[in-house]
């Protein structure tokens, strides 16, 4: 009994740690435009704009995946829908943001409602597969839209126009807009998951049958969450299109949906800041790894497996459980990779081998520790 209350007390302290680290990370993200000027590195701003936008998408996915237990494998579809709405409107000469943006969000919501209405009749693996199928449908719609570039995509010549209010051609301004939207969406999710609605959503994650028995029409609440997540992700799509000045079916390819799931899982499902941790870690790793080889996923895959093995609950979970070693190992691995990359430039085989050897060693160490502990008990 006392151990249970102890552990819950320490969980509370550690989740306070996550909270502090999460806020610090968001604060750091707020400094990026300044750092970009100080270090005279415009690419820094480009990279982090992408990170912040994807973090918004990951936050939206976390609402249904992390809190709602709905594994949507088609979330990138809404990035596409949001992006295409802006792109197509711009193509036809509609540049006013107050038309483009709300319309994009609404259409994303409508698409999410249609997909959700059908998908939520299924559960488990069927739900995963059917959301994937729908997102592929949307993907091929984009592919077949020859008027809007088909699979070549479409350039957006003029950025969304906020009148005199905001000039999105100014990169720091655009960055701060994305950053504020990220903060707002995190706060929104925080309020939502702790509200009555959120309690229903979380209850349905662990036991939807029971939820029905105590009197909830579960399906309605799940669908609502699904639509909210779709709309928020649509907004991330708007930002993506505005940022790159380009839309193409590639932005809603199924692998992008997979990336989003990985970001959420890596950061910690059902944690407030988890998706932000996950997105930052994912995209920084991608940046570093892909700079040494186009086969960077060969390295990225084992890293993911390591996270699942050693840090269940992702980065956030490791913090909550106070797995300082795991986190330090993660950071060390990252800098090691970065160092190896700068040393070996184009050779990807050597660092990969080193990494695989390190993984094997870490695994063996964990196994050995476990074995000794068991014998001790």
């Amino acid at each position: 009994m006392s151990s249970a209350s102890n552990s819950s007390a320490s969980t509370a302290t550690s989740s306070r740690l996550t909270f502090v680290v999460g806020l610090a990370l968001l604060g750091f993200l707020g400094l990026i435009p300044v750092l970009s000027v100080v270090f005279d590195d415009p690419f820094l701003l480009t990279l982090f704009t992408r990170i912040v936008i994807m973090a918004i998408a990951a936050v939206s996915l976390n609402l249904i995946l992390g809190y709602g237990g709905m594994v949507s494998f088609g979330h990138a579809a809404y990035i596409g829908v949001g992006g295409y709405t802006v792109g197509i409107l711009a193509f036809h000469g509609v540049h006013a943001a107050w038309i483009q943006w709300p319309l994009a969000v609404i259409i994303s919501g409508v698409v999410a409602a249609l997909i959700g209405l059908l998908s939520l009749r299924t559960k488990g693996i069927f739900f995963i597969m059917i959301t994937l199928a729908f997102s592929q449908l949307v993907y091929y719609l984009g592919n077949g839209a020859f008027a809007y570039g088909g699979d070549d995509g479409l350039n957006i010549m003029t950025r969304s126009d906020f009148g005199g209010l905001l000039n999105l051609d100014n990169r720091p301004t655009f960055y701060y807009l994305c950053w504020v939207i990220l903060l707002a969406s995190i706060y929104f999710v925080h309020r939502t998951v702790n509200s009555r609605f959120g309690m229903v959503l979380q209850g349905a994650r662990s036991n939807d049958r029971r939820m029905a028995t105590i009197g909830f029409p579960v399906h309605r609440y799940q669908l609502t969450a699904f639509v909210i997540a779709g709309m928020l992700c649509g907004l991330a799509g708007v930002l993506t299109a505005t940022f790159t000045g380009f839309i193409s079916p590639a932005m809603m390819h199924w692998s992008r949906s997979g990336d989003l799931i990985v970001m959420v899982v890596l950061g910690g499902m059902g944690s407030l800041f988890g998706p932000v941790f996950g997105t930052v870690a994912f995209l920084l790793l991608e940046e570093v790894l892909s700079s040494w080889t186009e086969y960077w996923k060969i390295v990225f895959g084992p890293i993911l497996i390591l996270v699942v093995l050693f840090a269940r609950g992702g980065i956030d979970g490791a913090m909550v459980r106070g797995q300082a070693c795991t986190l330090l190992a993660g950071c060390a691995a990252f800098f090691l990779l970065y160092g190896i990359h700068t040393t070996y430039e184009d050779q990807w085989l050597i660092p990969t081998l080193i990494l695989v050897a390190a993984c094997a060693l870490a695994w063996f160490a964990k196994w050995e520790i476990q074995r000794r502990k068991n014998r001790h008990d």
């Binding site: 009555r196 049958r209 105590i214």
Partner: protein, 252 residues
């Protein structure tokens, strides 16, 4: 005497197996009506149909005079039918109080409220705390459900059912897996709420059944072979043969 629940000629088949065979049953206001029968007699299938998870192939179910045979699960809950599960199915990562508060919330209007913090909502927390007190679990309110003992899980199950202020409570083996001490406490607790709510009790623990029940129905192969007062059931020759005298059932 008013009938809370009236089941008439209920039939449910799974392929060639008739799990509920022309079952008729009625529950009177405020009574504890026990349904007993050997394993596989179709008790849980019956509960499934009463709660609305299974659709009967024939027959009708009336609740407070209203035909609810085709009513979906969550609406039956709204009408006042609550159930405890045979296999504990609480929300493990919520605290005991969260679990019960969720049950209260289910009967407090719609939950499309996105902003105010549910855990600070007195109109949910106070009735939830009352239900926990009713089952004697108030001192464990802030413990995460996964850290509670098996007996406490069963109590929590009943607190959640009570929190929905039901007119009819379906208890599916509330004493399953309990030690004698916990069982005795549960019997005590059910005695306490007796009269305020009509209870359909499914239970293998015969001591508990005979201590609590006003009437007993014996179910064998989905068919009610006898219904009556505990003493009548104890004396019924057919029942002795089918169930009470059966060594296997005693071992259970």
């Amino acid at each position: 005497m008013t009938e809370v629940l009236k089941v008439s000629n209920l039939v449910k088949r799974f392929g060639g197996l008739t799990a509920t065979d022309n079952l008729s049953l009625d529950l009177r206001q405020g009574e504890i009506h026990a349904v007993i029968g050997p394993n596989g007699a179709g008790k849980t299938t019956m509960i499934g149909q009463l709660i609305g998870e299974l659709r009967p192939d024939a027959g009708t179910i009336h609740f407070m005079g209203q035909d609810i045979t085709a009513m979906p699960v969550h609406q039956r809950s709204g009408a006042g039918i609550a159930r405890s599960f045979q296999i504990t199915s609480i929300f493990q990562n919520f605290t005991a109080l969260d679990n019960v508060a969720l049950a209260v919330q289910a009967h407090d209007g719609h939950s499309f409220r996105f902003w105010a913090e549910a855990r600070k909502d007195k109109s949910l927390r106070e009735p939830a705390m009352q239900a926990l007190e009713q089952v004697g679990l108030a001192h464990r309110a802030d413990i995460t459900a996964s850290a509670l003992s098996h007996g406490e899980h069963r109590q929590l199950e009943i607190a959640m059912a009570l929190a929905t202020k039901p007119k009819l409570l379906l208890l599916d083996e509330p004493m399953a897996g309990m030690g004698p001490e916990d069982s005795a406490r549960m019997v005590q607790m059910l005695r306490g709420i007796k009269g305020s709510v009509t209870i359909l009790l499914i239970e293998h623990d015969m001591d508990a059944v005979f201590a609590l029940a006003d009437r007993i129905t014996v179910l064998v192969y989905g068919h009610a072979i006898a219904t009556g007062l505990p003493d009548e059931i104890r004396r019924n020759e057919q029942v002795r043969q089918a169930y009470l005298g059966d060594e296997e059932a005693v071992v259970e």
